[in-house]
């Protein structure tokens, strides 16, 4: 996993609520057996029409909006547990997703792939949307060590929460398997003490 410390970038605003992982990457694109290339089909049915032509009214097809930060409405990533959603965002070039609320499984999947989900209050999210729609070049700065997200143009800041363990994984580029494997002996010991013989 690649390391993440700081980022300042313009953003792609997507003020839609309950964006589910079927929108992020539709099921018919889950047939690949590798982790690569899902970015091409990120938000496929919102980005392209049935003739595979870009839909002009979708924000990702508007050259005004670009950057490594996606800002979306509340309950982002709900629905299917497909990690392909996180892979698609990462592959397309997003490193941070900001929303006022994330679905559990997506949040974990994002963190496991070096995509930082930042939860901000509704008012802060509204402020980002307002500033970005006013000036598409405006930047958002993220400092993971300090856990601060800043709307650069206005100086508004918010101190976001992140599990300290996941934070250190992101900063150092570690993944959970490294951590779990370091406890192999304890896991084997635990298995010996499991009191119930009827579970295989």
């Amino acid at each position: 996993m690649k390391k993440f410390e700081k980022l300042s970038s313009s953003v792609v605003p997507l003020p839609i609520e309950n964006i589910d992982t079927d929108q992020i990457i539709p099921a018919r694109f889950l047939k690949s057996t590798t982790r690569d290339g899902f970015g091409n089909n990120l938000f496929r049915d919102w980005r392209f029409d049935s003739d595979n032509q870009p839909k002009a009214d979708f924000v990702m097809n508007d050259p005004k909006y670009k950057g490594q930060i996606l800002v979306a409405g509340k309950n982002f990533g709900c629905g299917s547990s497909r990690e392909h959603a996180a892979w698609a965002l990462e592959d397309y070039g997003f490193t941070v997703v900001i929303s006022s609320f994330f679905a559990d499984i997506f949040k974990g999947n994002a963190l496991n792939n070096g995509v930082l989900p930042i939860t901000v209050p509704d008012e802060f999210l509204e402020k980002i949307f307002a500033v970005v729609f006013e000036d598409p070049n405006t930047e958002i700065a993220v400092d993971l060590e300090a856990q601060i997200v800043t709307i650069v143009a206005t100086g508004d800041t918010f101190e976001f929460e992140i599990n300290p363990y996941k934070k250190s994984c992101m900063i150092n580029g570690y993944d959970d398997i490294d951590f779990i494997l370091s406890h192999k002996a304890e896991i084997e010991k635990f298995e010996q003490t499991r009191p119930y013989s009827f579970y295989r």
């Binding site: 099921a27 889950l30 547990s81 896991i187």
Partner: protein
């Protein structure tokens, strides 16, 4: 202070707990399928690791399999490759596979329970959000991403913070024609598609207790549709009766040992929940969704809520959903025409669902112009349906009984609903494009789906029974 059921099971599986870290949680059973596992197997290869406990993992092919001509090679190349890859991976890593053609093949959340793999008190995971289904047996079961699938392969554990606890009680008697699916669609419509996020939900109350295991599975299956990590129901005699004698269920002395333990699996009277919600079963009508998330549900006799009544920030998303569905504010959903009826998915494809549909349609014909697909949850469900003559009832009615798989629930295979068409579906998600690009899904119970198939429109099934 007493413990909740979730705490009892969770605490019994914590290998290590440390301040500032998620728990290292031991996983008893890992279920895998062809779509979310190949990258995890690749990860193991890159690290040079074996599967740590291959006999605690069970595989099946379900998400991306055809539901016609399963005895022939899969036509679509990418799908065939993905299913072949599962065979190759499970063979290489020593995992039991119930693949196409196997008598136990089926939807992962249907076969676990019917084989007696799903048991009370277990921790179970799968790279699929509807893993919550297994909670119906009093197990902690939840969906995980592929990175976590790799973790379980590598060490039979995952890192997970203990969730908050919610209790949802449904008390009283259900109306005639109202079932488990209506209960859960009703609850989700009340607490919204995000209302359970961060929680593990225990379903309780007399209406839940009175459900069969199949009904309980339907309820727990859709816990994720309110954002909850999982849902579960304390095991009782109904649970034990269902499990006894199944293929992999404990037998003899082990059965007695298991039963004694399982009887301790309930939330203590003085256990504390972070949230408690209570509903009256009598208030629940046959439910139907009108929008593009499972929280957008109403009783069939109600009208579609107005955009003006939604919170300000939610209006654009709400209007977008109605536009997608081709519905208008304040409209009645009754008598809306239906193009397709899909009866299947891990929510409602069990033998009880098929029996209920068959009992309703026996001697009747589907409405002209409606396409009806019945996709059984497993080879065992299919075989049982044929044994009981249910296949003949469907044939006479003009329904297509297909072969087991996830099918039109997610439209990964050929079973897609065409753009713009309305599908009354017993599945679990009505997201945009879920059943095919621009397909319009209305989620319902098997009984309401059966009534739609016969009449060709959305009807109140209570008027037909």
């Amino acid at each position: 202070m007493g413990k909740t059921l979730v705490e009892k099971i969770w605490d019994a599986h914590v290998v290590k707990r440390a301040e500032g870290f998620p728990d290292i949680l031991y996983i008893d059973t890992h279920l895998i399928h062809e779509v979310t596992s190949p990258q995890a197997f690749d990860g193991l290869r890159k690290r040079g690791l074996p599967v740590f406990r291959p006999n605690q993992t069970v595989a099946t092919a379900d998400h991306n399999v055809p539901t016609l001509d399963q005895h022939l090679p899969i036509k679509e190349e990418l799908s065939r490759y993905q299913v072949d890859m599962l065979s190759k991976n499970t063979k290489e890593f020593g995992i039991e596979l119930y693949g196409l053609g196997h008598q136990y093949q089926g939807i992962v959340h249907v076969i676990g329970p019917e084989l007696g793999i799903t048991l009370p008190g277990k921790t179970m995971v799968c790279g699929d959000s509807h893993t919550s289904t297994h909670g119906a047996f009093g197990a902690i079961a939840f969906g995980i991403g592929t990175s976590q699938v790799e973790q379980v392969f590598a060490a039979q554990c995952i890192l997970q913070s203990k969730p908050k606890m919610m209790k949802i009680e449904v008390n009283g008697e259900l109306q005639k024609g109202v079932g488990a699916k209506d209960i859960i669609l009703y609850v989700i419509s009340k607490i919204t598609a995000a209302g359970g996020t961060g929680y593990f939900v225990e379903f309780a109350g007399s209406a839940i207790r009175s459900l069969s295991m199949e009904g309980r599975m339907t309820v727990c299956n859709m816990s994720i549709e309110m954002g909850a990590r999982g849902g579960l129901i304390a095991p009782d005699e109904t649970t034990f009766e269902y499990i006894k004698g199944r293929e992999f269920a404990p037998k003899g002395d082990k059965w007695d040992e298991a039963l004694a333990y399982w009887k301790t699996l309930y939330s203590d009277d003085d256990a504390e929940f972070d949230a408690v919600l209570t509903y009256d079963a009598a208030d629940i009508q046959p439910m139907i969704t009108y929008g593009t998330n499972p929280g957008m549900g109403i009783g069939v006799s109600q009208t579609i809520p107005a955009t003006a009544d939604q919170p300000e920030s939610e209006k654009p998303s709400y209007q977008k959903a109605l536009d997608y569905m081709g519905f208008a504010d304040g409209e009645s959903i009754l008598n809306k025409p239906v193009d397709y009826v899909f009866i299947g998915s891990c929510t409602n494809s069990r033998i009880e669902d098929l029996r209920e549909v068959a009992a309703f349609v026996a001697g009747k014909q589907k409405a002209e112009g409606v396409e009806v697909w019945i996709v059984p949850g497993s080879k065992q469900v299919e075989a049982q349906a044929i044994k009981e003559g249910i296949d003949k009832i469907f044939e006479t009615a003009g329904f297509q009984l297909r072969e087991p798989g996830c099918s039109a629930c997610l439209g990964m295979n050929e079973d897609k609903i065409p753009a713009g068409k309305y599908c009354v579906s017993t599945s679990n998600r009505n997201f945009e494009g879920r059943q095919g690009p621009n397909a319009r899904t209305m989620l319902v119970s098997p009984l309401t789906a059966a009534a739609a198939a016969i009449t060709g429109k959305v009807v109140d099934v209570r008027e037909f029974i």
